[in-house]
């Protein structure tokens, strides 16, 4: 049976993640701390700008003779204007000075390289939950529970807000009239965002983000005024029924949209415990008869059904969708790993 990607749609599960700092730095949270994706959990060191001083030119000496006139050594901190090298010679005395505060990091070939002092940059973006482990200087492990849904793409920056499903069904596109002042601070869920006025209007009313089945790629020609999560892909396909129902189940709760593994994770934390761990979801699995799948490409993209029959020789499968069957390449299917509250299907 063909191997295809798995889409995780868990209405309630336990999740955990090791979150590493992007470079050497320090972790500032402790075990037991509650964190959200927008909290600073650490700092990394960013090295300062580099400056080069051509000592040989300043002293009018061949590079190999510069070393004997140096007044500083590698690793030494200097102030702007401080003399780095000097050539005594009465009226013809010459010297090279530091252009800015910093540290001498390398000297050679007639040059001195100076580096401005480093600064710290804040690190955010871990999953919402509690810190369960800290690796000093490297990262932390966060664990939490709640709904966890995978989307196809995050266009724009991470966002969060209260989920608000503004359309009656997954095939209904988002229209400007769905957006009003009550949407301020919310994350809107709809089928497909094809109307050109939708995105500017959403930004105008302070919408934090949109979760849509699809969006025309043409919108990407300009920077999007609000971040958008696509659950299906680009085009005009509706949102698949399974994802729409899962989002309906978290209507009114806080959702965080975070980029992970080239995809997007939608996390709605809750305080209730769960006995199922999201880590159990394998990213790839073999298609099996009876499995719930969604079609992700072609004229029936966005439809959900069960695998009726695999046709091994052609690499295709027949999928029983609502009322009729679809024949699709196996690679155009995604297995839906669905978890209703408290149970696994």
């Amino acid at each position: 049976m063909p191997v295809v990607p798995v889409l995780a749609l868990a209405q309630h599960c336990e999740f955990s993640e090791r979150f590493d700092l992007p470079g050497p730095g320090r972790v500032i949270v402790n075990v037991g701390d509650a964190v959200t994706p927008f909290d600073v959990v650490g700092y990394v060191v960013q090295r300062g700008a580099v400056g080069a001083v051509n000592l040989a030119r300043a002293l009018r000496l061949p590079p190999r003779k510069v070393r004997e006139h140096l007044l500083v050594r590698e690793g030494q901190s200097v102030r702007a204007g401080e003399v780095l090298a000097q050539r005594e010679g009465g009226l013809f005395s010459r010297r090279a000075v530091a252009p800015a505060d910093g540290r001498v990091v390398a000297i050679g070939a007639g040059f001195a390289f100076l580096e401005e002092f480093p600064r710290e940059v804040a690190v955010r973006g871990c999953l919402p939950g509690r810190v369960v482990d800290v690796y000093p200087g490297q990262g932390l492990v966060v664990a939490g529970q709640g709904a966890l849904l995978q989307g196809a793409a995050l266009l724009g920056a991470s966002f969060s807000g209260l989920v608000r499903v503004v359309v009656p069904g997954p095939a209904v596109p988002l229209q400007p009239e769905h957006i009003d002042a009550t949407c301020h601070g919310a994350v809107l869920v709809a089928g497909a965002g094809v109307h050109p006025d939708v995105l500017p209007r959403a930004a105008e009313f302070g919408v934090q983000g949109l979760i849509l089945g699809s969006l025309r790629a043409g919108f990407l020609k300009q920077a999007l005024p609000v971040p958008v999560v696509l659950t299906g892909g680009f085009g005009t396909q509706p949102m698949d029924e399974a994802t729409f129902r899962a989002l309906e189940s978290v209507d009114g709760r806080t959702v965080y949209a975070l980029p992970r593994a080239g995809r997007v994770l939608l996390v709605c934390p809750s305080t209730a415990a769960s006995n199922v761990r999201a880590a159990e979801v394998e990213p790839l699995a073999q298609l099996e008869v009876g499995q719930l799948v969604r079609l992700v490409s072609g004229p029936r993209a966005g439809e959900v059904g069960t695998v009726a029959e695999p046709l091994a020789s052609s690499g295709k499968v027949t999928v029983q969708c609502a009322g009729n069957r679809a024949l699709a390449p196996a690679l155009n299917c995604e297995i839906i790993w669905q978890l209703a509250a408290g149970t696994r299907s």
Partner: protein, 571 residues
């Protein structure tokens, strides 16, 4: 003595899918047995288990073939024992991260020009470039270069400059200055210095750098200041892309553990697969992110990044524009639909065509990707002395990539190949039907006979022989007269007019001796209007006589012309 690899799994680690093909001895020869495939999720995002697609493809192969390849420890069973496992594994890699390179050139001379042409052949990211003049005159420019080295940590700093006949000692001082800039990086992050300069100065260059970082030397890409010789640098860069590919967070450590030394980047694997004494093969592989072109006669390769049907589709679309894609479409899709298709392929590059419209769109992108490599070949292979937009002559042209596999109609594939590459003269056309040619190439050293047998018996499918004269004529006038006799004695006489594409069925395995009489100004290689005798091989499609002219007139890229040409090929 190393034992012969009788059974093997050939793996192709691509940007869209991971394929694993099993080959074993069947009777007195080696045959392809089965293929497993899995979407390469690791190529679109970081997976917790980056080797998961590799394992899934091999598990799929096990399910199809009924043969256990992986042991209970998850490692391949090597060598084959009691019908389980294989004697070896090999892997070709196209999904390698681009090589991060900084270039330092003493002067803007021929050496730099040809070094950059060699660099174009390997997927790379150019971090920065600095010249000797900038280093000497402008400390700010040198500081900017040094900061780029420090912040973006290139894997290779390529230093070029000078002619072998007149080695300039200034090169050594320049290398010394670059080495000082490199010392801004932590020792473990320092790049390899690749010195491609005059032979007499190599030892001095090594001495200037060796204390600070690793250094390698390679032939000067232009030793006499005129005649290009970028081959050695080109091959070195391709090998470095694999050797320096980061292992952390990638499947490479697992692939290395499974395959040992039998690992090659895509273009070198293709060269290995198709190299035959006395036969020049031009092989093209239209992948998901890159399109590769190799010529075995020249021993040259070229890999164009952001030029493919998956992650490379949006880059290709941006490079050529939607109008050039749309001109090949008969289904009337709009520019928005084309942009959606390309963006979706970036999200899920493993997607397959599910209807005619999607197939047609895919072949439109293929034509433009092939056009891009055709245009790039002249710059990338200066030693071949190619005219702009032309390709070196070859006896056989082989097309690979999922779009040329058995899942697609042969006529559409052949037409896309003709429209995109615009081959000239007489050559056989073939396709990599299983999509495993490069994977087999990674194992070519382990058992050349077995690889050749599996490739030629099961993988490569000959479409037929192409006769395509150079030149253009007035539509409706006779362009070429083909007269021949097949091995069975059947006689053929066929006059082809300008602008026509004609298919003459000739089954695979049969051969026809033919006299080809081009009319002036058409030229098959012997001169305008000069006749030629040739042996023409049959194939899945037969003989293809392309008298549409070279270069192809713009009119062939019209929906009606595409429809008519496809019908001529039986599609």
């Amino acid at each position: 003595m190393q034992s012969q690899v009788e059974s093997f799994v050939a793996i192709d680690w691509g940007h869209a899918t991971v394929k694993a093909g099993l080959v074993d001895r069947v009777g007195d020869c080696h045959r392809f047995i089965a293929k497993g495939i899995a979407p390469n999720l690791a190529a679109v995002g970081n997976l917790r288990e980056p080797a998961a697609p590799l394992v899934a493809a091999v598990r799929d192969l096990e399910g199809i073939s009924g043969r256990r390849v992986l042991g209970i420890d998850g490692l391949p069973i090597v060598p084959e024992s009691f019908g389980a496992g294989v004697d070896g594994l090999g892997c070709s890699l196209s999904a390698l991260p681009p090589l991060r390179v900084a270039v330092a050139a003493l002067r803007e001379d021929a050496s730099l020009r040809y070094a950059l042409s060699a660099l174009r052949c390997t997927p790379h990211k150019l971090i920065g470039q600095v010249s000797g003049k900038e280093v000497a005159a402008a400390a700010e420019a040198f500081a900017r270069f040094a900061q780029k080295l420090r912040d973006e940590a290139p894997q290779v700093v390529l230093i070029v400059g000078g002619a072998d006949a007149k080695p300039d000692r200034a090169v050594v001082a320049f290398v010394d200055a670059i080495a000082v800039a490199i010392s801004l990086l932590r020792p473990q992050d320092r790049p390899l210095v690749l010195y491609a300069g005059p032979a007499p100065l190599r030892q001095a260059a090594i001495a200037a750098v060796a204390e600070r970082t690793a250094v390698r030397t390679v032939d000067n890409p232009c030793p006499d200041g005129r005649k290009p010789n970028p081959g050695a640098l080109r091959a070195e860069l391709a090998l470095l892309q694999l050797a320096l590919a980061p292992g952390k967070g990638s499947a490479l450590p697992t692939i290395r553990e499974w395959c040992g030394q039998r690992l090659l980047p895509l273009p070198l694997a293709l060269l290995n697969a198709y190299s035959r004494p006395g036969v020049s093969v031009l092989a093209v592989d239209v992948g998901s992110q890159v399109t590769a072109l190799v010529h075995t006669g020249l021993g040259a390769h070229l890999v164009l990044q952001a030029c493919g049907l998956g992650q490379g589709a949006t880059g290709l679309l941006a490079a050529v524009g939607p109008a050039r894609i749309r001109r090949w479409l008969t289904s009337g899709l709009g520019e928005d639909d084309i942009a959606d298709w390309a963006a979706n392929r970036g999200l899920r590059p493993w997607l397959a065509c599910e209807d005619e419209r999607s197939c047609e769109l895919e072949f439109a992108f293929v034509r433009e990707a092939l056009g891009q490599v055709r245009a790039a070949a002249g710059l990338a292979w200066p030693e071949a002395g190619l005219e702009e937009g032309s390709l070196p002559k070859a006896d056989v042209i082989v097309a690979g990539g999922a779009v040329f596999s058995s899942a697609h109609p042969a006529a559409a594939a052949a037409l896309a190949l003709l429209d995109g590459l615009q081959p000239v003269g007489i050559c056989r056309l073939a396709v990599d039907w299983l999509g495993l040619a490069s994977a087999f190439g990674a194992l070519a050293q382990a058992n050349p006979e077995a690889v050749r047998s599996a490739l030629e018996r099961d993988d490569i499918t000959v479409l037929g022989t192409l006769v395509a004269p150079m030149g253009q004529g007035r539509p409706g006038r006779e362009a070429l007269l083909v007269e021949g006799q097949s091995g069975q004695g059947a006689r053929l006489s066929c006059a082809v007019t300008c602008g026509e594409l004609v298919r003459i069925p000739l089954p695979g395995g049969s051969r026809m001796r033919a006299t080809l009489r081009p009319r002036r100004p058409f030229d098959l290689g012997a001169g305008p209007g000069e006749p030629m005798e040739a042996e023409l091989d049959g194939g899945l499609l037969g003989l293809l006589i392309d008298a549409r002219g070279r270069p192809l007139p713009e009119a062939v890229a019209q929906p009606e012309a595409v429809r008519a040409n496809l019908a001529s090929l039986g599609g």
